[in-house]
């Protein structure tokens, strides 16, 4: 690693031009650079204070969700097809703890902490009996659990509000007055507050994941992925390691759920937490690069960007050039959404299974011919 540093002892004198040092900084600490850009952007780009700010906030929340999924799918190599269920549990527990129709009405931080813990506990409760199963069976268990959660959220109307969801979820810091301004009111009026809240949460998660990757636990996750038997022979308790990955994934997804409910000020209807959402997040992680933090972030940005930027733009362009006067869905760009995603998955698996920004370790593993 030391050799990569262009700013060694000899160039303290300033012999290395500023530009080169900047490039080196971005390459080494890309996450800091990206966070810095995101932190400054709303002050420079006025659009981020409006509707765009809300969309970028949602993007950050999905990034958190995908980083959570990455722990299980990327590091530990367990296919998880129901991450949206944990996203939903986080959102609903948070909403139950804060909405006016329930007696709890906790503060934001307390409610978020409780719901993250609760989501992790539910993850443990599901994982403990099922993690012994082989990979593809586990995938089906998570998928089935996702369906159970969705149906339950939809049908337990007395508790979850059914299709209406729970609302209004109060903004963070409601009733807290700092310097004469009500923090809750500020959150409700200016989307930049949520933007920074989500950005801060994302920053914390990214840094935590960076640390985890290199920790004893993170290395154990990877060891179990690469060869469970060999890992157990080295004294790693595979079940415990997998369980911790499951709990960590669930907890991070729960955190994303809290932020989601708070930023929308409703839990939305249970369909927001269905299989499609799980698969989209999984697509993002796989497309970007399993087990790679920058890859995961890029994958989410691409998928969300497809839906919110590219598809509307292409549809508008098609309309403008009058290619599609009859309004047939065959000639609209967004009509091909599923096929494009599907094709992307197939092609990535065929030609670049390690994703766009691969983690070095996984790329090495995937390009080795398996017997």
């Amino acid at each position: 690693m030391l050799n990569d540093h262009p700013s060694g002892m000899h160039d303290v004198t300033g012999a290395v031009p500023l530009r080169e040092r900047l490039v080196a900084f971005v390459r080494e600490r890309w996450e800091l650079a990206a966070l810095l850009v995101c932190a400054v952007a709303p002050l420079v780009v006025p659009a981020l204070g409006g509707a765009l700010g809300g969309q970028v906030t949602t993007l950050f929340i999905y990034c958190i969700l995908a980083l959570g999924l990455n722990v299980m799918v990327g590091y530990t190599g367990l296919v998880h097809l129901g991450i949206a269920a944990f996203f939903g549990i986080g959102a609903y527990v948070f909403a139950i703890l804060t909405v006016p129709m329930y007696p709890f009405q906790m503060r934001f931080v307390t409610a978020a902490a409780v719901s993250v813990l609760a989501t992790a506990a539910i993850g443990l409760a599901l994982g403990a009996p099922t993690l012994r199963l082989r990979g593809d069976y586990l995938a089906i268990v998570t998928l089935g659990f996702g369906e159970v959660v969705k149906v339950t959220l939809r049908n337990l109307e007395q508790i979850t509000g059914g299709m209406k969801g729970l609302n209004p979820v109060p903004p963070p810091g409601k009733g807290v007055v700092i310097g004469g301004t009500d923090l809750g009111l500020a959150f409700a009026i200016d989307p930049r507050w949520f933007y920074y809240l989500a950005l801060a949460a994302l920053a914390v998660v990214v840094v935590a994941m960076r640390r985890l990757e290199q920790s004893r636990l993170g290395r154990a996750w990877v060891a179990v992925r690469e060869d469970e038997l060999a890992a157990s022979a080295m004294g790693i308790s595979a079940i415990r390691v997998k369980l911790s990955a499951f709990a960590m994934s669930s907890a991070v997804a729960g955190l994303a759920g809290c932020l989601y409910a708070a930023s929308l000020s409703t839990t939305a209807d249970p369909n927001a937490y269905d299989f499609n959402r799980s698969i989209m997040v999984l697509c993002a992680v796989i497309l970007g690069g399993l087990g790679s933090i920058p890859g995961t972030l890029l994958g989410v940005a691409l998928l969300v960007g497809f839906d919110t930027v590219l598809a509307p733009w292409a549809d508008a362009a098609i309309q403008q050039w009058n290619i599609n006067p009859s309004g047939s869905s065959l000639l609209s760009f967004s009509g091909w959404r599923l096929a494009i995603f599907g094709l992307a998955l197939v092609l990535v698996m065929r030609y670049r299974p390690e994703g766009l920004v691969p983690s070095r370790r996984l790329a090495a593993e995937l390009h080795k011919e398996h017997p």
């Binding site: 990979g135 069976y137 995938a139 089906i140 089935g144 049908n155 959404r337 197939v346 398996h370």
Partner: protein
Amino acid sequence: MQFFLQQCLIGITNGALVALVALGYTMVYGIIRLINFAHGDLIMLGACLALTLVSAFGLAGGGMVTTWFGVVLLVLLCGLFCGGLNVAVDRIVYRPLRNAPKLAPLVSAIGVSFIFMNVGLFWLGPADRSFPELLPAANLLAGDGLQFTAKDLLVLVVVIPLMVALSLLVKSTRLGKAMRAVSQDPTAAALVGIDVDRVITFTFFVGGFLGGAASVIYGLYINTISFQMGFQNGLYAFTAAVLGGIGSIPGAVVGGLVIGLVRSLSSAYVGERWTGAIVFVILIVILVFRPEGLLGRGTKEKV
């Protein structure tokens, strides 16, 4: 009591349909250990073709003989279509990934299911489409007790011969023997001179053919199809396959019947809206306590 029996009858007919789809999952899994996520959507495409053919042939409103003849023709055509499509997907998508890590074909199958769904969306449009009622709704049983209509008869008339044919095929033909050999150990099968790729292709074809037949019956029996039907039905069928012991052909049939009964009884006694949750809770419980399924044999992880 009569209500209960009626629900059981509905459950068995439904279950036979589920079993037909489950066979497609279980055969493919048995031979290349792939959960073919696209199977449900393959059946959706089969139903699209069936709907198109019914209108093209003008089958609705024909006489008794024309109708039954037409149904058999539909089953054959849709079976060939789905079987061929399944083989094509295997050739193009799954075959290059035979030696890849397990995740790769599974994710590709999800991708294929998306592509199929998009094709179905173009074919049917976003809304539910009603499938014409070709068969009379009159009760075939005497008295005003149990209801057993021509539709129920159709399911059994198509499903039972297909299953008998399948078990004969697997048990007593050369190809069936080769299939069993490949599913036990592909390397050893190749060593004794079995063309493994050909056997896999054939398995995909048979699984797809059964799925195509199921799609026609689904249309005629349920009478509503949509581009999203594949996911839910595929999931139920897969649950049935796992329940019976994935890779086991009689297991898929038993699993299908159990799932059919669970669905009809839980819809009748608990409420339709909980059915999905009940089926998957059963799936999870079974996987936890008996991961090899009801009739399956346990597979040991190989070092």
